[in-house]
């Protein structure tokens, strides 16, 4: 039982990080219909931004998060403005190919800038775990989960309660009508992409100190983010959050009680089962956008 509890705690903590990765992608994927293969690279960008702020400049942890979010949204905005805006209205395949190009270019730029050797980011938290009876969790991970929850809540509020959020949802429900109502749709696209990229970069800055930072770290992050988005339903923030937690717990229990060699397989089997019974994702409503 103690082991089961520890597995559940591990799974929820891991799932929280998957959720953070998933929400940025679900916005871009679900609202803009852009299959953003470069999502993992914005995650890597955030991690390297945190590395530069914490390890090289010696600034506090909070500053690292701010720098990462700034870098992510800036590059995201540039990317949308230069590459995606000229292609608006083109087929999803063309845009997919462009995003694959962005993925390869960004990953190689990271390799060129930082080299292939993995780096670790120093963090101000004690390494001794917080313990409750037989359970233990690292203070850093606790902080990551809490911050992730706050970021997810802020993102949800932003989209559902502000004027900008309403404009975003309107644009992606019906672009022409939104334009007629005076919504500047070009700017909304740029802001959405920048926002999604900033969320990925924030995830990178939070998780960089937990794991290691290296140029190909984004590949696994992309894979998990896509799984979470498909599990939760496109464009659905609450779905991505719950999907992330579900995937984390499924993987953890699979590794703990089936076989650690099939850890990822257990996660994907869970996804296949969900898609068999709810093809639009776990939490999709009937009137899903798109």
């Amino acid at each position: 039982v103690e082991q089961l509890l520890q597995h559940l705690v591990n799974g929820l903590v891991l799932g929280g990080t998957y959720a953070l990765l998933g929400i940025g992608l679900t916005l871009i994927f679900g609202l803009m219909s852009v299959v953003n293969f470069a999502h993992g690279e914005f995650y890597t960008l955030g991690a390297y931004a945190a590395f530069a702020t914490l390890a090289l400049a010696g600034l506090p942890f909070f500053a690292a998060l701010v720098v990462a979010i700034a870098a992510g949204s800036l590059l995201g905005a540039i990317c949308e403005r230069l590459l995606l805006r000229p292609l608006r209205g083109h087929s999803i395949d063309t845009i997919m190919l462009v995003m694959i190009g962005v993925w390869i270019a960004m990953q190689n730029a990271e390799l060129l800038t930082w080299g292939g050797v993995a780096r670790s980011i120093p963090h101000p938290f004690p390494t001794a775990p917080l313990t409750l009876g037989p359970l233990s969790i690292a203070p850093l991970r606790m902080f990551v989960v809490v911050t992730a929850a706050v970021i997810i809540a802020l993102a949800w509020l932003g989209i559902h309660t502000t004027r900008l959020g309403t404009a975003m949802r309107a644009t992606f429900q019906d672009r022409d009508t939104a334009a007629l109502m005076g919504v500047p749709i070009g700017r909304i696209h740029t802001i959405t992409f920048a926002f999604g990229s900033a969320l990925a970069a924030a995830a990178g800055a939070l998780l960089g100190p937990v794991f290691l930072v290296y140029p190909s770290m984004g590949d696994l992050a992309s894979l998990k983010a896509f799984s979470v988005v498909i599990l939760g339903g496109l464009g659905n923030l609450a779905g991505a959050t719950l999907g992330g937690l579900l995937l984390g717990v499924a993987e953890e229990l699979g590794a703990g009680y089936v076989s650690s060699g099939y850890r990822d397989a257990v996660g994907f089997v869970a996804i296949i089962l969900v898609l068999m019974f709810r093809p639009a994702g776990l939490f999709a409503r009937a009137e899903r956008i798109g």
Partner: protein, 389 residues
Amino acid sequence: MLKRLAPTALVALMTLTLLPAGGDAQAPIKIGVIEPLSGPVAASGNYIRMGAEIARDWINARGGVNGRKVELVIEDNKSDPKEAASAAEKLIVRDKVPAIMGAWGSSMTLAAMPKLEEYGVPMVVETSSAASITKRGNPWVFRISPPSEMEALGLEQYVDRLGVKKADFLAVNTEWGRGSIQAFGDMLKKKGVQIGAAEFMEQAATDMNAQITKIKATGGDTLFLTTAVEQITLVLKQGQEQRLTRKIVTTGGSSSPTQLIKQAGAAAEGSYHIVFFMPWFPEAMPDAKLAKAFVDEWNKRGNPFEGLTEGFRGHDGIATIVEAIKTAGKDEPKAIQDALWKVSLTGVNGPIKFEKDGPAGRESGQSKPSIFVVQVRDGKVALPDFMKK
């Protein structure tokens, strides 16, 4: 006017570029190198390239081989088996290299091997440790790195001194990791050691908490860890977070303890590492003078110190090929293959000499490298007491 001139100019250009760069006797001897220079294990591949370049420069400074300079033709296999096969083909067909060193990972080496047989070109394998490489009946393969069985046997003499009573395993889910658990498990069982859990992790996995929670429950005293240095770092850190109190022994020789101390900090304290080169104690290596010279040259070039535990392989691989070319007296693939069987030299790791391995009549060459154990103590790499001469 321009239109009429263009073909003439083209022909002139082609003639110029196709002219041989000099007499044949003066042309350098080419040696092909296939390493992962980009992708997830790029750091290791680049360290091996640096080591190979030191060997090349030393050989050329001594006047080359058979009166000719040595030139390395280096190809990137992008940490990908498919690329390893096409790199081998490119080196053989386009660059016409008479011998190759490569290709780091077992899966990459295995993918390149059919090309060696197809064109009849020998390859010195510097890193890969899957047993199958020398068991497939490919007579063009000569390995200077130890397969897992050999590594396990090398550790056998220290098992009692390490105080291993019950062992758990955590390995990367590849041919290397699975082979390593098999080999070390067999050796430990023979020594009467109890075996607890055998857990796996995907090559790119970053969260190993599930495996650690499971291992914690077995009540063993030693954890054998087999994977690349990045994942070792993560396991050490996450083990500390979960209060995993075990002796940790890493296998495979790619663990780079210096890098672990830098990145895992206190979590690396007390861990043991099987390595094939001890740059911290060159005086304890079989050829102390060569080891010292190699470390000095590496530092002089500004190469990162943590790369030395990989970099020496590049030196030893190139030195082995050059020795064979010298014995053969010419740079023809078949002659080099024959000469490799006669090679006997001392590299940075120790003596290199090939013995037959694999199905009779089609044997591959396997050298028996030296194996060492170091420990992280007080934030530094130290020789365990049982390793002191």
